[in-house]
């Protein structure tokens, strides 16, 4: 027994300095180590370009800064973990911040999130799209860096437009209705719409575009009683009337809406860049013929804007250590360089809240997304992010009440208002 205890004491005594030497050596060699749990790993489309970028960063700052990625491929689990750690005030050095009403509350908490406002004012902030930077700014604080976004412009099939004798996508609704008549005369259903699914996605995007044209960048700040909602509903109703969409749009889901566009039964559609792969794979001729445009403007309304939404921002834990703070900012600046996000876009098809160009040879349609995004005078978020879930759940049914049930646009708005009271 005594011999065993002696052996244990010797092993322990020897191991302590050995562990200390290795641990101390590693810390000295790496400099500041920043932990970065990320779901852009494994099978994620951004895994490879992200690994490359972070690897290059670590190589450039060898011995000074090292970003250590903690792979967390489960995005739902990631969100829950970050939300829990936000609540506990115990955050990783760098992390992916998914902006929503829950996470944005932590902007107000002191000493939880790092505020990048000072650094961004020094020129770094100029590379971001203004609307996205505004969305990430609360009371002058920028506690998350706008990063990956979704853009949902209007898609149109140039070949079908040519068949109908239309040269370019209409810029006003007056021209748009003339174009829809021309398409119908050519035997083509003008638009894809849908009232089904969780949020009547395609029609909800149309409604958001129209609201943007009527109300400008701050349109969603207006309450549901504002006349803009009824005016937009009148246009939405017309999109469903007179053969301007397919008969199965009522009750149809995203598959119905998308498949009509892919099969060239409809000439106009709306969706984000994630749909490029589907079009390229299932309907290469449609992919080749598709171009993107802003929605037409209402009379006297705005034109050129896009409906976008933040998917993932980058954020960091607050620190009082200036060296550590500098390291974090260096990394954030690196990740948001236009050439770096362009590389991720080209390889993974994701879009970013930064003004940048990509190689048009990579995918002309992807390049179109970057173009319409850069050209937009302003962006506004989609309706889904502007209203409570109860309103969005009622949106498709409210369209159905207008289209099939004979409700007026004013009654459409009343249905939404009623849902908003929940």
């Amino acid at each position: 027994m005594a011999r065993k205890a002696l052996v244990l004491v010797i092993v322990f005594a020897l191991s302590v300095p050995v562990v200390g030497i290795f641990a101390g050596g590693a810390a000295e060699e790496d400099g500041i180590v920043l932990q970065f749990p990320s779901f852009w790993v494994g099978q994620d489309s951004k895994a490879e370009p992200m690994e490359q970028l972070i690897g290059e960063f670590n190589a450039m700052y060898e011995g000074e800064i090292r970003v250590q990625v903690e792979p967390t491929p489960d995005t739902d689990g990631y969100r829950q973990t970050i939300n829990t750690r936000l609540a506990a005030g115990d955050l990783p050095d760098i992390f992916i911040f998914q902006p929503d009403p829950t996470t944005m509350r932590y902007y107000e908490a002191e000493g939880v999130l790092m505020d990048f406002a000072d650094e961004l004012h020094g020129g770094w902030g100029d590379r971001f799209q203004e609307s996205q930077m505004n969305a990430a700014t609360v009371d002058g604080m920028v506690k998350s860096i706008p990063y990956e976004i979704g853009v949902t412009p209007i898609w149109y099939n140039t070949r079908l437009f040519e068949e109908a004798g239309i040269d370019e996508f209409p810029t006003t609704f007056e021209e748009f209705w003339e174009a829809t008549d021309a398409l119908k005369d050519a035997g083509i259903t003008p638009t894809s719409q849908m009232t089904g699914g969780a949020n009547a996605w395609t029609s909800m995007l149309w409604y958001s575009h129209i609201i943007g044209s009527i109300g400008g960048p701050d349109a969603w700040d207006r309450p549901l009683g504002h006349p803009q909602y009824e005016q937009a509903a009148e246009i939405l109703l017309r999109l469903y009337s007179d053969g301007n969409t397919t008969g199965d749009a009522v009750g149809g889901d995203a598959d119905v809406s998308g498949s009509h566009y892919l099969a060239e039964r409809t000439a106009i559609f709306s969706n984000g860049p994630w749909y490029i792969g589907r079009v390229a794979g299932d309907a290469p001729q449609v992919h080749e013929a598709t171009q993107l445009a802003p929605a037409p403007a209402v009379e006297g309304g705005e034109h050129g804007h896009q409906v976008t939404f933040a998917l993932s921002n980058l954020a960091a834990a607050h620190t009082d250590d200036p060296a550590r703070r500098k390291a974090v900012v260096e990394f954030m600046e690196w990740m948001t360089k236009p050439e770096h996000v362009a590389m991720i876009t080209e390889e993974a098809g994701s879009l970013f809240a930064i003004e940048y160009e990509i190689d048009p040879d990579v995918d002309p349609l992807l390049s179109e997304f970057v173009r319409v995004q850069n050209e937009a005078p302003f962006t506004l978020t989609d309706m889904e992010r502007a209203f409570p879930v109860a309103v969005i759940q009622e949106f498709g049914g409210a369209i159905e009440m207008m289209v099939v049930g004979g409700a007026s646009p004013a009654e459409f708005v009343e249905i939404l208002k009623d849902a908003a009271e929940d």
Binding site: T246, G251, A390, G396, A398, V404, G405
Partner: protein
């Protein structure tokens, strides 16, 4: 009242089941009713709102349609589906050619996922390429080729109809009952000159009446809690015309409106129990065996 002489043993045996029943049924059931009087988003404290959730539900068109549709579902499954199942069971009990094969064919859909079946019917009902409209168009009936799931008048019948055909579960229950009726009763009736139809009306139906009532009770319970097919085929649309309380419950829970969601669940429980009790009271008379004894 005197205690049973083995009350300790009985209590000991009943205790595990009792604890589980209380933990996993009585307590959650009570909690549903408690939550139905609260306003709660899942975070933060609950706020007691009394009957506000119920009053709000009564004023909602979606709830009115949901309640109506649940009743229609319960009655359709209870009377039409079980009725069809009873007819098929009586035919198969007479052992026509291939009756074993047909029994399997009718029962097979019961083991297939509701999701798969709903998706199958979705492709049948689709306006542009659906099988139903393709047949109608090929027959020159283009005017009848409509958006079955997107039209107010046809959506609910279309969703219910796709469910009514799947009679296998109830057919097998009723068939077992019909097969157990002594052959001698039919032989006697035949000697007395009773037709096949008369034999079914005066022997089979009275003898399996209680089994049919049980099948109807089960079918109505399935109807009251119906969710999957409607959720997958129409999502409750168009404009709530096919919605059910189950779908509204799901929507409210998804919107983190737990008070309202639980109020719907409470209504579902009460209405379900009420309908089943009333229908059983109306249909369950004394059994044929008891009649015969007298």
């Amino acid at each position: 009242m005197t205690l049973h002489k083995n009350w300790k043993g009985i209590t000991l045996f009943m205790l595990p089941v009792g604890v589980m029943y209380f933990t996993f049924f009585i307590y959650p059931l009570g909690y549903v009713f408690v939550l139905s009087t609260m306003s709660w988003s899942g975070f933060g404290p609950m706020e007691f709102v009394g009957l506000h959730n119920f009053r709000r539900l009564l004023g909602m068109t979606s709830f009115q349609f949901g309640l109506r549709n649940n009743l229609i579902w319960a009655l359709s499954l209870g009377f039409i589906q079980v009725g069809l199942a009873a007819v098929v069971a009586m035919i198969l009990a007479r052992k026509p050619p291939f009756w074993r094969f047909l029994r399997t064919v009718y029962f097979l859909p019961t083991v297939i996922s509701q999701v798969a079946i709903a998706m199958l019917w979705y492709t049948i009902y689709r306006e542009n390429f659906g099988l139903l409209n393709t047949i109608l168009r090929n027959m020159g009936l283009d005017q009848l080729a409509i958006n079955w799931l997107g039209t107010f008048t046809t959506a609910l019948p279309a969703v219910i109809a796709q469910q009514l055909f799947y009679i296998g579960y109830f057919m097998i229950i009723i068939l077992a009952g019909v097969m157990s009726i002594p052959k001698s009763l039919y032989e006697s009736a035949e000697i007395d000159g009773a037709t096949v139809l008369q034999q079914e009306f005066y022997i089979t139906i009275p003898m399996v009446r209680d089994i049919v009532v049980v099948a109807m009770t089960l079918a109505m319970a399935f109807g009251i809690r119906h969710f999957e097919a409607t959720f997958l085929l129409t999502g409750g649309g168009p404009a709530h015309r096919t919605t059910t309380l189950g779908i509204l419950l799901h929507r409210n829970l998804h919107a983190a409106n737990y008070g309202r969601g639980n109020a719907i669940a409470a209504v579902l429980i009460v209405v379900g129990a009420l309908i089943i009790t009333v229908v059983r009271r109306l249909l369950s008379t004394r059994s044929a065996v008891e009649d015969a004894k007298q």
